[in-house]
Structures are given as structure tokens and as C-alpha cells.
Symmetry: C2
Subunit: 370 residues, 2 copies
């Protein structure tokens, strides 16, 4: 019944249960995909998961957030009465604790608490029973089939967003005009609002690697870097491409070819047993041979969070396993110039399977229906 990934984590870390308010871990352990897009609410604390090693995980959230079928402990949310979510959440969590940890001696340091997301009120109330949970970024790096399908659905949203962004790319339009096309296409494809992280930078801004869309107007010959990271059903997708407004400058195609070759080499290296740091060095070297470099990671795990293990970074010591989902994103940047490509792949028993299907050409109309 408990998630085997959690059971192993608790055995290694030495705890009876995990308590986290990290939306990705809540999704992984309870199936609950809460909203992340509007910051703290005065009516509720973030939804939390209490997951023991030897029983079902429990969701602690306001009644507004709870969905049917979840093993959930709720407290009042939106109300015209007095509001006090810290005590409401603590009462619901107390109930969950007494059911989930009935066998644990009071006073034992049983509950490993996510140090970055669980709020202060809960820590005080837990007292000596709570201790910091180590290294949570690795928990959930290997996905099951249902999770892979959900990530693939998010990657399909990326594809739809790229097609719309390219269609909206015309000289004189602003980055925000392109962005409006992206959000409309992705939310229509999802049939609901979608939380999204995005880089959308054009012209000289491409040298800055990323940044949100602004009212800068696209000029003929500009490049546009579009990196879309939507969250659907609690799981994140990722994707990046770079294309030109009208005709691309002469330096762009050689750089694009180098980045595509680096991406291909990286995808070839994704297989069980590969070392994350080796993949990083390999991909980085291909771009370096073109005379460019990138200041960021080569790639990262994606799914429960938009950046998780395995991190494909210099010196990375993670051994890849089947079921890990990796975004690779080599790029090149220099004065006034920037270009990046990115695809997401899942590591399989003997290699990897690419999930991304968005166009990667320099022509804005690449991939458009004839």
C-alpha cells in the first residue's frame, strides 16, 4: 500500500513518516494536485501530505481543496466566519497523526518534516516529534507509468504552446502578444487554467538566457527563445526552442546545428547506469567545440517539480535509472546573442524515449501545417 519509493526513503533517512507541503510530493503520495498559482491564502495553509512508511498517505488540507476519494483530513477553508488556518490545519494533522502513527511512542522523533515547505505553526505543534527531512529532491525521481503519462500530457501542452508562439511571431508584435497566443493555446488544449513558468525573450534579451515576456516589439532578424514549463494535473512538462523573426542572422544556423548535435549526443547518452556528471560534460563539450558556451545546467529531472533529480550538472553523481524523466537543454550565449533547444525524454531499460514533439527549426513557420 505505501509507495515503495517512500518506504525506501524513510528507511534510509530513519523516520516513521514524512510530512511535506511541497506540491510535487503531495501529488506523488496522495494524487492531490492543488493550485500553486496565487501564493498563500488567508483561508488555508498549503495542502500537506503525512505519509507513514507502513500505511496509506494522508492529505491534510482545507475542505475547499479536498476531492472525493482521497484519504483526507480537512478543516474549514473559505468562510464568512473567523479564519485561523494554522489551528485548523493542526487539528486535521493531529487526527491524521494519531491514526497514522498509533504505534509510535509519543515523544519519539518520528516525523521527518520537509524543512522548506512545512509552515512554522505545524513545527511548533509537533515539537520533539518533528525532525528535518534530508534530500527530498531525489524522492520521486523515478516515475511510474501513470506519472509518465501525466508528464507526457504536460509535454503535449508544451508542443501546442510552441506551435501557437510560432504562429504569433511577426515583426511588430510584442513578446506579450506571442505570450497571449501561448497561454490561450495551452489553456484551450488543457480545458482549464494552467500554471506555467516561461522564458520568452527576443533580440538582445536572448543573451540573458531567460526572463518573462515584456512589451518589447519583435524586429526582423531577431531570435526568440521560448521555454515553456506548464503544470497539468500536478506534473510539470518542459520544452525550449529558438526561432527567428523573418530571416535569421548568419551566426544562428551554425549555433543551432551545434546545439542540436549536443542534444542528440546527450539523448544518446541517457541510459540506465550513466552518470549525470558524465552526460553534462559530454553535452557541454559539443557546444564548446562551436565556440559558444552556456552558464546553466545541461539538464534536470522534471515531473513532480520543474527541476529535480537527476540534475545534469558538472560533477553530478546521480546514476540514471529507467523511469527517470530528463530535460536536456544545451544552448549558446554571447554578447547580444542567445539560442537554446530542449527536449524531454524518459530513461528506458536500454536507452531513452523522447517525449517532446515541438518544432526546433529556425524558421518561425517550422512545423506549421502546409
Amino acid at each position: 500500500m505505501p509507495d515503495q519509493r517512500l518506504t525506501r526513503y524513510l528507511e534510509q533517512a530513519g523516520g516513521e513518516a514524512l510530512l511535506s507541503a511541497e506540491p510535487g510530493l503531495v501529488r506523488m503520495l496522495t494524487g492531490h494536485a492543488g493550485d500553486v498559482a496565487t501564493g498563500p491564502s488567508p483561508f488555508q495553509l498549503p495542502a500537506m501530505v503525512l505519509a507513514p512508511g507502513d500505511g496509506p498517505a494522508r492529505l491534510i488540507c482545507s475542505a475547499d481543496e479536498a476531492a472525493a476519494g482521497e484519504l483526507v483530513h480537512t478543516y474549514e477553508g473559505f468562510t464568512a466566519g473567523p479564519i485561523d488556518p494554522p489551528s485548523g490545519a493542526w487539528q486535521a494533522l493531529s487526527e491524521a497523526l494519531s491514526e497514522a502513527l498509533a504505534m509510535v511512542a509519543p515523544g519519539a522523533r518520528a516525523v521527518l518534516v520537509d524543512p522548506a515547505t512545512v509552515p512554522a505553526s505545524v513545527v511548533w505543534s509537533l515539537g520533539e516529534r518533528g525532525a528535518p527531512a534530508p534530500d527530498l529532491l531525489s524522492l520521486g525521481s523515478v516515475k511510474n507509468d501513470a506519472e509518465l503519462a501525466a508528464i507526457e500530457a504536460s509535454v503535449r501542452l508544451c508542443d501546442a504552446g510552441h506551435v501557437a508562439a510560432r504562429a504569433a511571431t511577426v515583426a511588430g508584435a510584442t513578446e506579450l502578444d506571442v505570450w497571449a497566443g501561448v497561454t490561450a493555446a495551452i489553456e484551450r488544449a488543457a480545458g482549464r487554467r494552467v500554471a506555467m513558468i516561461a522564458d520568452l525573450v527576443s533580440g538582445p534579451r536572448t543573451a540573458e538566457v531567460g526572463g518573462p515576456p515584456t512589451d518589447r516589439r519583435l524586429d526582423s532578424g531577431d531570435l526568440l527563445i521560448c521555454d515553456l514549463v506548464p503544470r497539468l494535473d500536478g506534473l510539470w512538462g518542459d520544452s525550449c526552442a529558438t526561432w527567428a523573426v523573418g530571416e535569421a542572422p548568419a551566426w544562428a544556423e551554425p549555433l543551432r546545428a551545434a546545439c542540436l548535435e549536443a542534444l542528440r549526443v546527450g539523448l544518446d547518452a541517457l541510459r540506465p547506469g550513466a552518470l549525470s556528471g558524465d552526460v553534462d560534460a559530454l553535452v557541454r563539450s559539443v557546444v564548446a567545440a562551436s565556440g559558444y558556451e552556456y552558464p546553466h545546467h545541461t539538464g534536470h529531472g522534471v515531473g513532480f517539480r520543474w527541476h529535480e533529480q537527476p540534475r545534469i550538472v558538472p560533477g553530478g553523481s546521480t546514476r540514471l535509472e529507467a523511469g527517470m524523466v530528463v530535460a536536456l537543454e544545451p544552448g549558446g550565449y554571447s554578447d547580444g546573442r542567445g539560442l537554446r533547444v530542449e527536449q524531454v525524454a524518459v530513461v528506458t531499460e536500454n536507452g531513452c524515449r523522447v517525449l517532446s514533439a515541438h518544432p526546433l527549426g529556425l524558421a518561425a513557420n517550422d512545423g506549421a501545417a502546409a
Copy 2:
């Protein structure tokens, strides 16, 4: 130098300093308007404010978030190296603490900690120096002139969103089509991405009071409730109107008239010294006389959070003061029917000044240029 509102709060609550990660309080005390729209980041903790009663407030955040000119203590954020935001944030906060609380005896219970937003790691590290901060929802209920101007700018975004929503209202369009018009208009008007809470419900969904836009198609004779709550420069606006797709059903105009009358009566009652519970009862009674009722608050403060003091609710005991910003939103709901109107006003020395300027008519083209 310290914010007088904070000084009074700390005197009443009995603490040397306040520590909060609530984005509204961070904005109020440091001017920093961080992003709220994508949930927790693996690279950083939420930005925090450490505000002593007798000195300047300090921002604790990752280097990625810090803006020039802020009194800021930073740690590394986005990186290709190892990531450990809890210890980074704690080191930056330790530095801020030792500078801000140099005169406070070690071990004293000096720091009042926001129980809903400050993460566990910081609480453990503070140890005996941290204690729960009471009643933070009232802190910042009275705004200064610069804050009022920022709220007014957010309310202008609401106005732009309503005009776009009405223009996109045609039979056969989906709620998400209308929503795409709203987001494009608001983000173009702001010149940047804008975090937004919204109800956008049509037809029978209006009886549910609120909810996000879906792929439901608008039908002739449907009503559409549109409640837009954008955040610009860290301050929230609010607004609601209800209009018809084509010709409105016969029951709609009498209900709209009752809600508008309730709104007018409520605005007339907004003045220094008025009791929030009295305003609630007055507005609620006007709607009740029409045979309808609403299950939610009559209104709420808005600005640093999207719902704050003064809460206009049954039994509310807050005395209004000049500088408070209040959203009033009477509505009526019954089987398959729903309608709501909302305006935002600031309490002045002898009444109030309405900030909202969005159309409130039942015809979708109300307010459209001739």
C-alpha cells in the same frame, strides 16, 4: 524609519521584530514584490522580511530575486552547483538578525514568526528566539498614499479585463475563450505577466458562486459572472460584474437592481467609525428584500492580500478607518441562477471614494465604445 503600523503591532504583540514570508507583508515592509505564481522553487525559500520595531526592515531572499536599492541579505539561488536553500536562507537571515537585533539578549523571545508562511527550517534554527506572531491579517489594513496608488493601478487592470471579457462574450465561445481575452488585455495593459485569481462561470455554473473558467460553451440567455483579482507590483485589485450572453432572462434585471442598490447602500455606509458587522447586515438586508441571498462575506479588505481586514462579515467588529480599502460584493444565488456585482473603495475622512470603473450592465456591450 520603521513603518508606524509595524511599530504599533510589535508593541501590542510584545516582540522585538516580525519575521514573515507572506508576500503581502514582505511587499508592505520592504517594497519587494516577489513572484507568487508558480509555487515553491527548489532553488530558494520564499522571500522573507525581518522587520524590527526600531530600525529598517530587511529582505531575506535569493540573489535571483533581489532588486537594487533594497536592504537585502541574499544567498545563492539558481545554480548548476549543489542546491540547499534552507541553509542559504538561514545564513542570510542570521546575518540580518545579528544586525537588526544587536541589542537583544540572546535567548530572548524576540522574533515574532508568521506561523502560516515561515518555513520549518527557519523555525528550528531560531529556536527559543522565535514565537508565534498573532493576528497578522490586520497588519497593513490602513494604506498609505503610494500603496493606494498601486492598488488603484491594479483596479485599472480589472477594468481592462472586464472590457475584454465583455467583448469576447458571444454564444458558442467557451469560458476559456473569454478568459484568453481577459489575460491578454490585462497583461498587455500591465506590460508584464500578472498573477490573477478569477471566477469565470456561466449558465448554471453561476449558482456555484465562483470557479475557474472551463471549456463550457456560452449559450444565448446565459449569465456570466466574471470576478477578476489581479496582482500588480505586489498589490491586489478586485472586481466583479455579471452580464448576459445575448438577451438576459427576465429574472436577471430585478436581481441586478437589488444587488446594485445593496452595493450603493454599502458604499454609503463606508466611513471612519462604521462597524464592519453593521455594514454587512445592511447590505445583506437589501439583497434579502429581493428574495435572494448570498452565502459569502459582503466584502473584505484588499491590497497586500486578496482578502484581509476589514472583513465585512456577520458579527464583524472592525471599526473602519480612513485609508482602508474595501471590496463590496453583494450577490444573489438560487437553483441554476447566480449574479454578483463588486466595487472597490477607499475609506476617506468623511466617506469613501470608489476606485472601480468597470461596467456593471447586463448587456454584454455595456461600456463598449460606440
